[in-house]
Amino acid sequence: MKTFLAMTKRNIKVFFKDKGMFFASLITPLLLLILYATFLAKVYKDSFNSALPDFISVSEKLVNGTVAGELFSSILAVCCVTVAFCSNTLMAADKVSGARKDLFITPVKKSVIALSYYVGTLLTTLIVIAVAMGACFIYIAVNGWFLTFGDVMLLILDVFLLSLFGTAFSCIINSFLKTQGQISAVGTVISAGYGFICGAYMPISNFGSGLQKTLSLLPGTYGTSLIRNHALRGVFAEMTKENFPPEVIEGIKDSVDCNIKFFGRAVSISAMYAIICASIAVLIGVYVLINVLDKKAD
């Protein structure tokens, strides 16, 4: 255990010694926030307005609050995974520098080394995500705050779980990478692609039904939906209070992926949590197994 802590400490120290690495991870969410706030916000707003029947009038604050909630969930859903990939460079760096050899010639279990990489990446990811999350909460507060303390806590839990998920995912992929170049390439692909397949750039409800079904097989989808549900819960409550017809609210919920269907069956919030937790456990298991079975150091 002491060994594990010392190794994790070492991993984190190495990460933060390289200031470039930290800022590179931090810049992803900030870029996304700026990008989303300037472009996507308008798209979301228009689509929201056009989705509303004409007879309903909505306060500007409620519209902005909804859009902000959507942005919040999109950004954090993407970031939890992409930041994990950006900050998970140490495994490959250690292969290049030979430090991995140095770990291999010691009696430490491979699983301990693997987990220390995992926790190291997780902590650095969480630090970056916490900063991003703070910025996103400020954005919501400026545009229209409908969240309760409970919502905030649930959002923090969601983001935490999704970070666990993203980190495990990135650890598996990066186990096979050997150079910084490969890491950057994969990181770029993930940043660009993951947003689409998890429903962050565009709600999955916009896609064709075949694609929807395929995406419903991916656990990341439910992570996005969890964040979305909690980020928008207050908004929907406010709509109910302002006497929106329930079917209109359900329609909006459908359109922003708050109600996800798995081959036709609605997935409850608790089922989503179960899916995410199970996939985290499976991914970490697979990752440790890959490392235990790996006989080579480079």
């Binding site: 002491k2 060994t3 070492r10 030979g98 291999f104 010639i105 009696p107």
Partner: protein
């Protein structure tokens, strides 16, 4: 003396290179074992296989009774390795490096501090403790590498060209520490080096060529086998030396005559007592052995 390292029929190929070719040798407990060979002979590859960072194709490696196939964990507790290239974390300080590596052996807290303090005194890097590793000079870093390898008092210290590029002073410090450990703790030292004067102090020498052993023995055996003796004559006349019809070399105020062995030297001196009034008989150097062994192979290969 029993064997502490037993390597049998070891084989390793990279795509087009047969780096280690049916290699077998033993290292005895407590000895200084020199593992020599030209660049690319397969020394580092053999070391990587011994310490479990590289998979072998064939053969067996047994270290202190443990097989590398099944008991690698036991082996790792017994070996300390200084790799040819430093493998510590460049961005961390010397201190962070040593403490984090010590923890890998379960050495933490007071125990770690005591050990690291001891090594920093022995290897004279107390004043470097808070420096960033990658900002150190090559020789300074090498001392840290050696300290890293000695953290857990290994039974076997594997050194892959530990002294390359070091000044004589640093080399002396390094060897003093290694010899101390060898004497006081019975540590076995497995050394690869290109400095033949270091190999000359070894108990046993193996010279590797293209992954195969091309010569092995104690330095004395090797010198006797691969080099002649030299008779250095002072105050002699070159014409007379020439008339002996033996290869010789003129050095400052003397001539160095090469003879087959010590017996031949004795016969030569007895046959020419008037010429050899002031002389000295010396054996060949490990340099000569190395050149003889490795260049012979080159000719044979052509």
């Amino acid at each position: 003396m029993e064997n502490i390292i037993e390597i049998k029929n070891l084989d390793k190929s990279f795509k087009e290179v047969h780096a280690v070719n049916d290699l077998s040798f033993n290292v005895k407990r407590g000895e200084l074992f020199a593992f020599l060979g030209v660049n690319g002979a397969g020394k580092s590859t053999t070391i990587s296989i011994m310490c479990g960072t590289l998979k072998k194709d064939n053969g067996s490696v047994v270290i202190d009774g443990y097989s590398a196939d099944t008991d690698m964990k036991k082996i790792t507790e017994e070996i300390g390795v200084v790799f040819q290239n430093s493998v510590l974390d460049g961005v961390l300080t010397v201190k962070d490096n040593l403490y984090s590596r010590a923890s890998l052996y379960g050495i933490t807290g007071k125990e770690a501090k005591a050990k690291i303090d001891e090594l920093s005194k022995l290897l004279d890097f107390e004043n470097l403790m808070n420096r960033t590793l990658c900002k150190l000079s090559g020789g300074q870093r090498r001392r840290i590498d050696v300290a890293r390898a000695l953290l857990h008092d290994p039974k076997i210290l594997i050194l892959d060209e530990p002294t390359t590029g070091l000044d004589p002073q640093t080399r002396k410090i390094l060897w003093q520490v290694v010899e101390d450990y060898r004497k006081s703790k019975g540590m076995t030292v497995f050394l690869t080096t290109h400095y033949m004067e270091e190999a000359a102090d070894a108990d046993y020498v193996v010279i590797l060529d293209s992954g195969k052993i091309s010569a092995e023995g104690t330095p004395l055996e090797l010198k006797n086998k691969y080099t002649g003796d030299f008779v250095t004559v002072y105050n002699a006349d070159e014409e007379r030396i020439k008339s002996l019809n033996l290869p010789y070399e003129k050095i400052r105020d003397a001539f160095r005559i090469e003879v087959k062995d010590t017996e031949a030297a004795r016969d030569l001196i007895v046959a020419h007592p008037e010429l050899f009034t002031d002389f000295e008989i010396t054996k060949g150097k490990m340099d000569d052995v190395f050149l003889a062994v490795t260049s012979k192979k080159l000719v044979g290969g052509n």
